[in-house]
């Protein structure tokens, strides 16, 4: 390296960039980051959809009034509606008429059914004002006292099942991420050993001139940090692009029959900015784990080389 006039020399790096075969390591880190981001993204999507469903379901309760011989069904329905309207936090109460109740049964019993032929219960949909907390226990108790044929359903069982499903998905996703990180650590350790075997003469000479293990490890760590960041950026970037593309396609189809069916079933396909931030942070974490695994292997390998 020639002298720079009036200044110092540009010194060659002690560990040359080309001495560490990094393509395989970059590929491994990129693939692992992509898979981890995919798992995390899917968990975030499922959680988002489940939260949407839950908030929709939780904002509504149903009162069902059964026809009981000796009682006036219409009067029971009216009284139940009055009680519901008087309850705190309720924004809207909508009783289904007899005809509407029959219509609800049409998919199972066919059309042309007469209410009088069957003891069809009447439904009352009670909407809770957004952000309000309704006292369901008090409402349930008052209905039981004043309208005994009425039953009250706050969809708790359904919400609990949904919660269990979401938690199971999150655990499965977390398990995949942990496995991916484990495989990354193992792969990086092997790649580091390979790189160190190729750089053995450099380590030996550095030992000869009195370099300590920390000094030698630091000369290599910079390379592994760069390779880890490169791999994580490629894998994380590809996953973020994929989710962004999915979001665009979903927005493109929104308003169409297919799009609406998809949205009804799976919720909106959107990670939100916080989701993308989580994916980017996860990619950075994998890059740091790569450096940690390299550092661990480096110290073990350097100690073996004299």
């Amino acid at each position: 390296m020639p002298l720079i006039e009036g200044g110092g020399r540009r010194l060659s790096p002690i560990v040359p960039r080309g001495s560490i075969a990094g393509h395989a390591l970059v590929a491994v880190v990129a693939i692992m980051t992509f898979l981890a981001a995919l798992a995390t993204g899917i968990v975030l999507l499922v959680r988002g959809a489940a939260t949407e469903w839950q908030s929709e379901v939780a904002s509504e309760v149903t009162i069902q009034v059964r026809p009981v011989p000796g009682r006036d069904l219409d009067r029971d329905v009216r009284r139940a509606v009055e009680i519901a309207r008087a309850a705190a936090g309720v924004s809207e109460v909508r009783p289904f008429s007899g005809a509407e109740s029959v219509k609800l049964l049409e998919p199972w019993l066919g059309s042309g059914l007469k209410t009088e032929d069957l003891p069809v219960p009447r439904m009352i949909v009670v909407r809770i004002a957004p952000g309000a907390t309704a006292d369901f226990a008090a409402l349930r108790a008052q209905l039981a006292q004043e309208v005994p044929p009425a039953s009250f359903d706050d969809h708790r069982a359904w919400i609990e099942r949904m919660r269990a499903m979401t938690s199971a998905t999150a655990f499965a996703g977390l398990g995949i991420v942990v496995l991916v990180i484990l495989v990354t650590v193992i792969s990086v350790s092997f790649a580091t050993r390979g790189a160190m075997a190729a750089s053995r003469p450099i380590v030996e000479v550095l030992h000869f001139v009195g370099a300590g293990d920390r000094y030698i490890a630091n000369r290599f760590l910079g390379h592994f940090l760069r390779l880890g960041l490169e791999g994580a950026a490629i894998g994380g970037g590809a996953a973020i692009l994929l989710f962004g593309l999915g979001e665009s396609v979903s927005a493109w189809f929104s308003g169409t029959v297919v799009g609406d069916q998809f949205a009804a079933l799976l919720g909106t396909f959107s990670l939100r900015p916080s989701g993308y931030l989580i994916l980017a942070a996860q990619a950075l974490l994998i890059a740091l784990i790569t450096v940690w695994a390299s550092r661990r292997t480096l110290y073990a390998t350097i100690a073996d080389i004299e």
């Binding site: 390296m1 020639p2 110092g8 020399r9 010194l11 060659s12 002690i14 040359p16 001495s19 003469p201 450099i202 030996e204 000479v205 550095l206 030992h207 000869f208 001139v209 009195g210 370099a211 300590g212 293990d213 920390r214 000094y215 100690a303 004299e306």
Partner: protein, 219 residues
């Protein structure tokens, strides 16, 4: 500076290759280490360089029992020792200048503080025109001189050299010996392992002779 007491060395379960070595290397001393091929000169040099531990006996260097030193302490101690090996051990991706300056770089010194020193030494050993050459294009003698320059550049307290004139012509051998003598006069203890009787005859120094695993000291 260095004290060996009843030191023995064996490789694995084999016989002892060095037996009952007891000697001292005083500060500012100069000694040749000689003996037939396979007598254990390189093994003894490696023990002096702390890259090989004895299987028995006591070695103290710079006042410290080496069996108590951890890896960091060994690395710190090696900064006071220069070594020239038969196979030179130069880094092929670095220029001659960078190879010679490596000890300073490892010490964390800024390049501007040692540039003049390195350039002067390279000129002195006849490599002034080869400073920017990479080791693969240097001749055996040039590599030898670069390795010697790297070993002496940081003015070590102890210099170990394994056949340092093995690849150079007699004129250059004399010149390199002068370099070692200069270094010795400036306060470094020098140990040169060699077969070269002519070289040893050029300078009056202690002779450590290894024969059948034992060391005989001729003052």
């Amino acid at each position: 500076m260095v004290r060996f007491e009843n030191v023995g060395l064996r490789y694995g379960l084999g016989p002892e290759v060095l037996r009952d070595l007891s000697f001292r290397i005083a500060p500012r001393s100069f000694q040749f280490l000689t003996g037939p091929s396979g007598a254990g000169k390189t093994s003894l040099l490696r023990m002096l360089f702390l890259s090989l531990r004895p299987t028995r006996g006591l070695i103290t260097m710079f006042g410290r029992d080496i069996s108590t030193l951890d890896k960091n302490a060994v690395a710190a101690l090696r900064q006071h020792i220069g070594i020239v090996l038969q196979d030179f051990r130069l880094l092929d991706h670095m220029t001659t200048y960078e190879n010679v300056a490596l000890p300073f770089r490892v010490m964390g010194r800024d390049e501007s503080t040692y540039r003049r020193e390195v350039v002067d030494l390279l000129r002195w050993v006849g490599l002034g025109e080869r400073m920017d050459a990479l080791p693969p294009v240097l001749s055996g003698g040039e590599k030898q001189r670069a390795a010697i320059a790297r070993a002496v550049i940081a003015r070590p307290q102890l210099l170990l050299a394994d056949e340092p004139t093995g690849n150079v012509d007699p004129t250059l051998a004399r010149r390199l010996l002068r370099l070692f003598v200069e270094l010795h006069r400036s306060g470094t203890s020098v140990v040169i392992a060699t077969h070269d009787i002519a070289l040893m005859d050029q300078y009056d120094a202690h002779r450590l002779v290894l024969h059948e695993g034992r060391l005989h000291v001729y003052e």
